[in-house]
Amino acid sequence: DTGTLAHDLPGYLREQGREKSDCSLRPFPVSFAQLGWDHWIIAPHRYNPRYCKGACPRLLRYDYHAPNHAVVQSLVHQLVDANVPRPSCVPYRYSPISVLMIERDGGILYKEYENMIAESCTCR
């Protein structure tokens, strides 16, 4: 029903900024002790993997990097069958983390692990 969509659009575009409940990146600092890894990781002391949370809007904005399928699923939820869920708010881009570890033999290891910190979110 393109008429419904067209009716929605002006109101949507008038929105100032994002809704607080919209899909977005949230901080969540943890310690390696909380994860049970402090017996072998000695640096960093803090780790903020962050997470994505929030509702994906009915009309997905460009900055959500959502693939075409997510747009279609959003329309299906809205216009065809609400049993089909809206796209999920999930991480899109990640950055690595460097850790310093103690090894059993007394050696010390510096290592970078990819995809350990969420940098942005998407609706998928």
């Binding site: 002790a33 909380q34 994860l35 049970g36 890894w37 017996h39 072998w40 000695i42 640096a43 960093p44 002391h45 803090r46 780790y47 903020n48 460009y62 990097h65 747009v71 881009r93 950055s95 690595p96 983390i97 460097s98 850790v99 310093l100 570890m101 103690i102 090894e103 059993r104 033999d105 007394g106 050696g107 010390i108 290891l109 510096y110 290592k111 970078e112 692990y113 990819e114 995809n115 350990m116 910190i117």
Partner: protein
């Protein structure tokens, strides 16, 4: 802020590098406690870490390590009395067997303190490559000017064998007490030099995604 309960044993096949590392480093035992690390090697690695990453562990842009893995290997000494008068001579061996196959050696350096202050005088140190059947004894010269007192000597050519594998490295740590003759300094055991392996771990994670293709505004 509650600590999580210790997880059970990890499944056999783990697709994630970090979880693989957890399995390898603490096989069957999540209660394993690393020996408390201290001393010069830890200080050196913490300095290296601070240069390479920020306080939350994000690798710094333009970081100088040029690789994703740096492994510090400690020496095993052969015992015996290393001091003879003003001279200190300590044979050292670095065992490199059992290194993960996914870690490819880019370069290797030995790190040592060439000059240590004593209460009276100084301790001057150098490293010798132990003689083998193929090569005579050789003095290692630092590749760079000492940084924060540390000197690094490149030993890559001595580690890479014909088939690309590495076994062990034998060195002699030689020091001489310089200063007033007859000084009553108690013999100080200098910190053992340590080996740094700069490695490229091909399984530390997927390569960063290629640049996002240009997408048209819908």
């Amino acid at each position: 802020n509650q600590s999580l309960p210790s997880p059970g044993p990890l499944p056999a096949a783990l697709p994630l590098p970090l979880l693989q590392a957890l399995q390898v480093r603490a096989p069957g035992s999540w209660g394993w406690q690393a020996r408390p690390a201290s001393g010069q090697p830890l200080r050196y690695m913490l300095n290296l870490y601070r240069r390479a990453a920020d306080s939350e562990g994000r690798p710094r842009r333009g970081r100088s390590l040029g690789t994703n893995t740096v492994r510090l290997v400690r020496a095993s000494s052969h015992g015996g009395q290393p001091w003879a008068g003003r001279w200190y001579v300590q044979p050292l061996t670095y065992h490199l067997e059992g290194q993960p196959e996914v870690e490819h050696l880019l370069r290797a350096t030995v790190v040592y303190l060439p000059n240590m202050p004593l209460a009276r005088g100084r301790l001057l140190c150098a490293l010798e490559l132990a003689a083998t059947g193929e090569a005579p004894r050789a003095l290692l010269s630092p590749a760079t000017r000492p940084h924060h007192g540390w000197a690094e000597a490149d030993v890559t050519p001595y580690l890479v064998l014909g088939n690309g594998s590495v076994g062990s490295l034998a060195l002699r740590h030689v020091c001489v007490r310089a200063g007033r003759v007859g000084g009553r300094d108690a013999p100080v055991a200098p910190s053992h030099p340590f080996l740094l392996l700069y490695l490229n771990d091909t399984q530390a994670g997927l390569a960063p995604p290629a640049a996002e293709p240009h997408r048209h505004r819908r």
